[in-house]
């Protein structure tokens, strides 16, 4: 088991003096960090935070996803809060908010609830807004009854 921990250290090379240092190695944070120059093929699931500075091909499911300037992703990704500064080819599904920074280059299908794109970003593909239906909140029966009660009370006075 210790061998696994040691192999994970490869990501934290001396050159990365940025945020990687602040993440403790022993954690239960379900964090994934793919460093610059690292290539990963496959499927990542159940992660809480994913920082991609390297190259990831496959499927990524994580609550928070951050594709940094140097990050390259191809495949399907889904998450709640997604920030893209690098390049993405494939499908992006965001339940909560999606931030596309000006250095981003995206090709594919984007499904989003809340989207913010900075001037300069390149997006080639389809945008689909989800939650157009959710934003509409129908009046419940209870609220109608309450209104009726209020009206009748006012009438009595």
């Amino acid at each position: 088991m210790d061998e696994n921990n040691i192999s994970m250290d490869e990501n934290n090379t001396e050159s990365s003096d940025d945020e990687a240092q602040s993440i403790p190695l022993d954690n239960d944070a379900k964090a994934v960090n793919i460093g610059t120059g690292v290539r990963v093929d496959g499927r990542i699931e159940g992660a809480e935070t994913s920082d991609i500075s390297g190259t990831l091909t496959g499927t990524l499911k994580s609550s928070n996803i951050n594709i940094s300037n140097k990050g390259v992703f191809s495949g399907d990704m889904s998450g709640q809060e997604i920030t893209i500064s690098g390049s993405v080819d494939g499908e992006i599904n965001s339940d909560d908010y999606l931030i596309v920074n000006n250095s981003a280059n995206i090709k594919g299908v984007i499904e989003y609830a809340s989207l913010q794109v900075s001037y300069g970003a390149r997006i080639q593909g389809t945008l689909r807004h989800r939650g157009s239906v959710q934003s509409y909140t129908p009046v419940t029966d209870d609220e109608v009854k309450e209104d009726l009660n209020n009206e009748s009370q006012e009438g009595d006075q």
């Binding site: 913010q116 001037y119 997006i123 389809t126 945008l127 157009s132």
Partner: protein, 126 residues
């Protein structure tokens, strides 16, 4: 071709209407109650709050929150705060939080504020 909905007849005002002849910007403002079927073209600046079915073409187009355009919009710079159903083509496109867009967007630079609802195909052109 164009049909201007000048339904509101205002009472005659005696004061003389002054045109700002020194103005360097040729700005057209089309109010909320304006409805156009056809095409709207300008070489400078259009501030649009009405409803339009057809095409709208200008150097700068400002589609205000109450605006609705069904058709084609072509400009250098477009700011969208209203509703658009159709094709949008511009070098710079600014989509504000109140915007509702359906259709195709061709752009060189795009800026999207959160809150906007966009169901569209995006095409980047250099």
């Amino acid at each position: 071709m164009a049909l201007f909905g000048s339904s509101e007849k205002k009472p005659e005002v005696k004061t003389e209407f002054m045109f700002d002849t020194d103005s360097t910007i040729d700005q057209s403002t089309l109010a909320k109650d304006v409805k156009i079927n056809g095409s709207l073209e300008s070489t400078d600046y259009i501030d649009f709050s009405g409803h339009l079915t057809g095409t709208i073409k200008s150097s700068t187009i400002n589609l205000k929150p109450s605006s609705y355009v069904k058709g084609t919009i072509t400009a250098d710079t477009i700011t969208i705060e209203g509703e658009v159903d159709g094709d949008i083509q511009a070098k710079d496109i600014y989509i504000k939080s109140t915007a509702r867009i359906k259709g195709n967007i061709r752009y060189h630079n795009i800026d999207i504020q959160n809150g906007s609802i966009i169901n569209a195909d995006l095409f980047y052109s250099s």
